[in-house]
């Protein structure tokens, strides 16, 4: 079912059942829907701004990492990689919030459009039944305003994809941009994609290193467990000594608990997937930019 259809059906039922329903009451309902739409647009804009801030911090970390790698500064490189990876959760949350806000904008806009169409029908009937030319003229004016608002809203629908969260929203095609500027922006996106590719390679190396360590730890545990299981190693006299708090992995403390190697590997894999998704999104946008240039020329 289309979003908002339930609400629309309720409105239609109210308009049908209540014979006394007037243009004024319809206007009130439309006013409320318009308010909800405006609020949804504002919420989306706020979510988009928040995303832009986090997105900028993420790419700053990626660029810092690239500069540190070029300069051979391992400490700064490690810091930059950690910073970028630490932002992945926040970045994903921010993108989800923008996507959710975009959904609300779309559903509230569709409800408003449907209501305005109903209102148009009602205004036409009222105009036809108007007792005077002056009243008819008033209804015509209202009809004209409603049509303009509808056209504006339906135009927004056609450009609905702009509501969705994008990577590097600061790079976009401005209507005033010429072909060279658009191509320049496409190149920026492609260079960013290349940087993300480099970051993916580094993450792959880190994952491979962690997996090697995890396997080494597992084999050490297997070795000791097998020796101890049948008392080949531990005498039964006296409680077996246990060295307390020997971490089986180094840890990045989160909350009160250190992360295990498996959890660290999983976090790296999530990070890698985010990098790959963003790389693909950049390349797709760059292709789109280049296609626009070809269309113009």
């Amino acid at each position: 079912m289309r979003p908002g259809l339930g609400a629309l059906l309720a409105v239609v039922a109210a308009l049908t059942v209540a014979q006394s329903a007037s243009a004024q009451s319809t206007e009130q309902i439309i006013g409320e829907a318009r308010g909800e739409y405006d609020a949804a647009v504002l919420t989306h804009a706020a979510a988009q701004r928040a995303l832009e801030v986090i997105d900028r911090r993420f790419y700053t970390a990626i660029f810092n990492g690239d500069r540190a790698r070029s300069a051979g500064d391992d400490v700064r490189l490690a810091d930059a990689r950690s910073a970028a990876q630490a932002l992945v959760g926040t970045l994903t949350d921010a993108m989800n919030r923008v996507a959710a806000a975009a959904g609300t904008v779309r559903s509230s806009r569709q409800l408003l459009i449907d209501l305005l169409i109903l209102y148009q029908v009602e205004l036409i009937e009222l105009a036809e039944a108007a007792p005077s030319a002056a009243q008819r003229s008033d209804y015509d004016a209202l009809l004209s305003d409603t049509s303009n608002e509808l056209a504006e809203l339906e135009g927004d629908v056609d450009d609905g994809s702009s509501l969705d969260p994008v990577a590097r929203p600061d790079i976009f095609v401005d209507p005033r941009d010429g072909p060279d500027q658009i191509l320049g922006k496409a190149q920026i996106l492609e260079r960013t994609a290349a940087l993300l590719d480099t970051a993916v390679l580094a993450v792959d190396e880190e994952i491979a290193g962690l997996e090697t360590r995890r396997d080494t730890e597992r084999r050490q545990r297997d070795f000791m467990a097998r020796a101890r299981r049948f008392d080949d190693l531990n005498p039964p006299i006296g409680a077996p000594r246990r060295d307390p708090d020997v971490q089986t992995s180094d840890s990045t403390a989160v909350g009160g608990r250190p992360l295990t190697l498996d959890e660290r590997i999983e976090a790296k894999r999530t990070y890698k997937q985010v990098l790959l998704d963003r790389r693909d999104a950049h390349l797709e946008r760059a292709r789109d930019f280049r296609a626009r240039v070809r269309q113009r020329t």
Binding site: G209, T212, R213, D215, T216, E217, R218, R219, Q220, R221, D222, F223, M224, A225, R226, A227, R229, F230, D231, D232, L233, P235, P236, I237, G238, A239, R242, D243, P244, D245, V246, Q247, T248, S249, D250, S251, V254, G255, G256, R257
Partner: protein, 372 residues
């Protein structure tokens, strides 16, 4: 009694579906299978073994199966509850004896419930309680030594602080009760029954990847079925002081070195001794996806008093043991490792300064069914 409870718990846990009841999941489930050929040397008797044979060397072909894993019952940022399970069976065909061949079978099982709670920002507390059980059928005579069957109940509380100026402190208190399964022809196994309590304090320096820990502890043990030959204090009571250090490196290579000194004093002259043991282990990846595991444990022991009696309490034989293992492991599939192991043990029997030796060559497979 067979370690029924542990096996039952393990069976129930294995039947649980993954992710059942929300957070319930295995942390590391490993099924182990293997076989080995072993040779034992040493011609003597042992108090705990009813059958006496005159051979000075025996051989055995051994097959084993085991399962272990940790079932995470609760997992939060500040607390966790884990049930650790381990069980196995080992069947040997022992040959070379004068009277007859033997087919000893060992069943082992252990389970422990551990609760972890971070205490503010300054410490982490661990509470642990568990049961270990072991049963042996057709236990052969020496020199093919096998630990006798027993059931132990134990619990400990551990507190580990955060680091203060680079030093983290820990305190461990534990209690234990051990009941050995006296058989009809070896009632002397009851002599091994004991109650014990211990306290250990440690301090650890360093962080990743290397730490060094110094520790000191005291342990009180009561052997309620052993006489002390003192009419005023008729049952054996030991006080044991242990001090030592352990160095651990957890990097691409895992290495551990330990030095452990023990002073055992008793109301009975016979078991008073001083001992020192050095242990070292190394696990390192090698080319060709191989992993090398090495373990060495050397023990030296000297008695405080001269005695013509059996030095050790029966069953304490392996208390004075030197052990060496070398193992090469390689992945066969993503969730299956295969390996070979060489083992050597030299341990004192209950006759002071008499030792048996064990050599073994094993192959093994470790299978992780939850890995893909």
């Amino acid at each position: 009694m067979l370690p029924t409870c542990s096996w039952l718990a393990l069976g129930v846990a294995l039947l649980l579906p993954q992710n059942a009841a929300g957070q319930l999941r295995w942390s590391d489930l490993v099924i182990t299978m293997g076989g080995s050929a072993e040779r034992y040397t040493g011609n003597f008797s042992a108090v705990t073994v009813a059958v006496i044979d005159s051979t000075d060397h025996a051989t055995a072909a051994v097959g084993e199966f085991g399962v272990r894993g940790g079932l995470i019952l609760m997992e939060g940022e500040r607390r966790g509850l884990t049930l650790e399970l381990d069980g196995g069976v080992r069947q040997a065909a022992a040959m070379g004896f004068t009277l007859r061949d033997y087919a000893p079978r060992e069943w082992v099982g252990s389970s422990a419930l551990q609760f972890v709670q971070t205490l503010g920002s300054w410490a982490t507390g661990y509470l642990r309680g568990g049961v270990d059980a072991r049963a042996v059928r057709d236990r052969p005579p020496m020199p093919l030594f096998m630990q006798p069957g027993y059931t132990t109940l134990g619990g400990d509380a551990t507190l580990v602080t955060r680091t203060f100026d680079g030093v983290a402190f820990d305190l461990i208190a534990d209690i234990e009760s051990a009941d050995y399964h006296a058989l009809r022809f070896v009632p002397q196994l009851d002599l091994l029954d004991r109650r014990a309590a211990g306290l250990e304090l440690g301090a650890r320096w360093g962080g990743q990847p290397s730490t060094i820990r110094f520790f000191g502890g005291v342990r009180w043990s009561q052997y309620e079925h052993q006489g002390s030959f003192d009419v005023d204090d008729p049952f054996r009571r030991d006080r044991t002081v242990r001090v030592g250090l352990g160095w651990t490196h957890m990097g691409r290579v895992i290495a551990q070195v330990g030095l452990d000194g023990t002073l055992n004093r008793s109301n009975s002259n016979r078991p008073e001794y001083d001992a020192i043991s050095v242990s070292a282990s190394l696990t390192t990846p090698l080319p060709g996806q191989l992993t090398l595991n090495l373990l060495g444990l050397l023990t030296a022991k000297s008695y405080v008093n001269e005695s013509s009696f059996a030095r050790l309490v029966p069953g304490e034989e392996a208390d004075n043991a030197s052990i060496a293992y070398a193992e090469l492991v390689r992945p066969i599939r993503a969730n299956l490792d295969g390996g070979i192991r060489l083992g050597w043990t030299r341990a004192e029997t209950d006759i002071g300064d008499a030792y048996y030796q064990r050599f073994g060559l094993s192959f093994l497979f470790n299978y992780r069914p939850n890995e893909r």
